[in-house]
């Protein structure tokens, strides 16, 4: 699937974004004593060992109990702490959905919800451990900022921003290896997208572990003379509606690609912005069903999100528009 990748993607060093997450959190916590970690027996799976070593008293393990995890974190916030709640995205979101709705979003407690290994990152562990719905679920909630960073730089930026922001945030943190796609000085701003690749024929909107794949697709398309704009859209809620509308206006067609269910997810968000302001064709790629057994990489390819798959979707969309 990757034979047409430009060498820089094939040779790129890849990163586990949990490392950037923890490194950033430790640095922030050294400066701000209010920061605490809250986990559900998930120190290892969140790679929080360094945090625990540095701040043994500021890592609260609630055991395997996700409702209590978010509820207690709300109480810690009420006591002036800034809790970073860190557990597998699938259980954090589905098991504590009502606490996220009421104790985080509605109550606007200062909670930072860090969904580890979202999407299909758990690969062969299967759909019970996949978290393909979290983006759609949490985007439906008023007041909550939903962030899907694409690489270690953006993960660190999102965590730094979240610590400084006074309010509830959900950030996905993936274990799936990704190359660095953003410049080292990249910052996170809610509701602000970044153009990572210029083009006027079609736009690829992506984030998370799929963004590098979209960039690789854009390079393939460029080689064929198709100018694909790549919009890096870590901020799913609020969405950068202006950037989407501008892309619709200037490129006339969009492909979205995400490691989640596009129904209501990034794809849905883009579709809603487009029909509200400048209707153009949108093709939504994502993991739209309970996946069969396979690794994360295998599944992303299978659901049409190999670089080649994304490029093909763009080509088909352009072809349909022309015909």
């Amino acid at each position: 699937m990757t034979q047409r990748l430009a060498p820089r993607w094939l040779e790129a060093e890849t990163f586990d974004c949990r490392d950037a997450f923890v490194e950033t959190l430790v640095a922030l916590a050294s400066e701000d004593p209010r920061i605490v970690g809250v986990v559900n027996d998930s120190v290892g799976s969140s790679k929080l060992d360094a945090f625990r070593t540095a701040f043994p008293d500021r890592l609260v393990n609630v055991g395997i109990a996700e409702q209590d995890m978010v509820g207690m974190a709300a109480g810690l916030a009420g006591g002036g702490r800034i809790p970073f709640v860190s557990g597998a995205a699938c259980f954090l979101t589905a098991r504590a959905m009502e606490q996220i709705k009421v104790d985080a979003a509605y109550s606007r407690n200062n909670l930072k919800l860090c969904g580890m290994s979202p999407g299909v990152a758990y690969g062969e562990l299967g759909p019970t451990h996949h978290s393909i719905e979290d983006v759609a679920w949490l985007r439906a909630l008023d007041q909550l900022v939903v962030v899907v960073p694409a690489d270690p730089v953006e993960t660190a930026a999102a965590i730094r921003w979240a610590a400084a922001y006074e309010g509830p945030v959900f950030v996905r943190v993936s274990r799936t290896p990704v190359p660095q796609v953003h410049p080292a000085d990249h910052t996170f701003t809610p509701g602000r997208a970044t153009v990572l690749h210029e083009g006027d024929d079609v736009t690829l909107v992506s984030n998370g572990t799929v963004l590098w794949r979209a960039l690789a697709a854009a390079e393939q398309l460029a080689a064929e003379g198709i100018g694909a704009r790549v919009l890096s859209m870590a901020s799913v809620s609020p969405l950068d509606t202006a950037a989407v509308v501008q892309a619709a206006r200037e490129t006339g067609a969009l492909v979205t690609a995400e490691e989640s269910v596009p129904r209501g997810g990034l794809g849905g968000a883009v579709a809603e912005a487009v029909v509200a302001h400048h209707p153009v064709p949108v093709r939504m790629l994502g993991v739209d069903a309970f996946a069969p057994t396979g690794s994360a990489g295998y599944l992303l390819d299978r659901y049409g999100m190999s670089p080649e798959g994304i490029a093909r979707a763009a080509r088909e969309l352009l072809h349909r528009r022309r015909s």
Binding site: D68, M72, G79, S107
Partner: protein
């Protein structure tokens, strides 16, 4: 359709907190009278709003009054003081009696009570921490308050602060697993700065707890989850004051207080009647209930 609440129905006056060192009898008498006033005002709120949860309101009023009147280290001018005590009303459906209690102790202007459940009022059917001064947690869905309170108590522990956390839950509410997760956490972390009070009125929404989903033996459950358990008459202001007001703490264990109460207490036709979970008194019932509460006024020589 009941007419709307007018100024004449705002009978509540602000209750002074008893000064430190006041004789126990005086304090208890004052708490008892304040609780009666709160019930009278809450009755009017529910009657005129045409909605509310008067059964659970009335089973909780005495605990609320004792907490706000003599136990909690809180005050209207210190709602943001990091060192205030924390109180979480987990049974958020009794917002009516809670708002009245907050008004009695100066957290809300009494006039604001007239907006209860009105369009755009900040006094909605469940307390909202962003809109009502003194409210620590937005509640309503059962099973939220106890985990939050455990977090509050743990925050105090992390701060090495003596501040205390109290939470009031329903008994039916203790069927929620989230509460048992929180119970386990509280005892795991040895939070002796936490007091859980259960409003043990034996009724939930549709029937008795026994018929719906039996909680018994509740004390054994709490003990097995690591709590120091005590039981008390939840309408006895003196007993509540002695128990909740005591700053003695069982070493390393959180406290679990089973407050035996009656839903709708002390109104003859409401008490222990499950229908009054959220029934609204009509004009006749309103008048009767008022008369029964009036008869309990100190001047009338009555007692709750």
């Amino acid at each position: 359709m009941p007419s709307t609440l007018s100024h004449a129905h705002l009978t509540l006056t602000r209750a002074p907190r008893p000064p430190a060192g006041a004789p126990r009898d005086e304090v208890v008498a004052q708490l008892r009278e304040t609780a009666r006033q709160i019930r009278l005002q809450d009755l009017a709120l529910v009657h005129f709003a045409g909605a509310g949860h008067i059964g659970g309101d009335f089973s909780a009023v005495d605990v609320l009054t004792v907490l706000y009147g003599a136990v909690l280290d809180v005050a209207p001018d210190r709602v943001d003081d990091p060192e205030r005590d924390r109180f979480v009303l987990s049974k958020g459906h009794v917002a009516g009696s809670y708002y009245v209690t907050l008004a009695a102790y100066g957290f809300l202007p009494v006039e604001q009570l007239a907006t209860f459940l009105k369009p755009l009022s900040t006094l909605g059917g469940h307390p909202n921490r962003l809109h009502v001064p003194g409210v620590e947690a937005s509640t309503g869905p059962l099973g939220h308050g106890l985990p939050i309170a455990v977090g509050q108590a743990l925050a105090a522990r992390l701060d090495s602060s003596p501040r205390q956390t109290y939470v009031l839950t329903g008994d039916g509410e203790m069927q929620e697993g989230s509460n048992w997760e929180a119970m386990m956490s509280a005892s795991h972390y040895g939070l002796d700065n936490l007091t859980v009070v259960v409003d043990r009125n034996g009724l939930q929404q549709g029937a008795s707890t026994e018929a719906s989903m039996d909680l018994a033996p509740l004390a054994d459950k709490a003990r097995a989850f690591g709590f120091a358990v005590s039981e008390v008459d939840g309408h006895d202001h003196g007993a509540l004051l002695d128990l909740l007001g005591s700053r003695e703490r069982p070493g390393g264990r959180p406290r679990f207080v089973i407050a035996h109460t009656h839903k709708g207490h002390p109104i003859s036709f409401m008490s222990d009647q499950v229908a009054w979970h959220h029934k609204v008194p009509d004009a006749d019932q309103y008048a009767t209930a008022r008369a029964e509460l009036d008869a309990l006024a100190p001047a009338a020589g009555g007692a709750l």
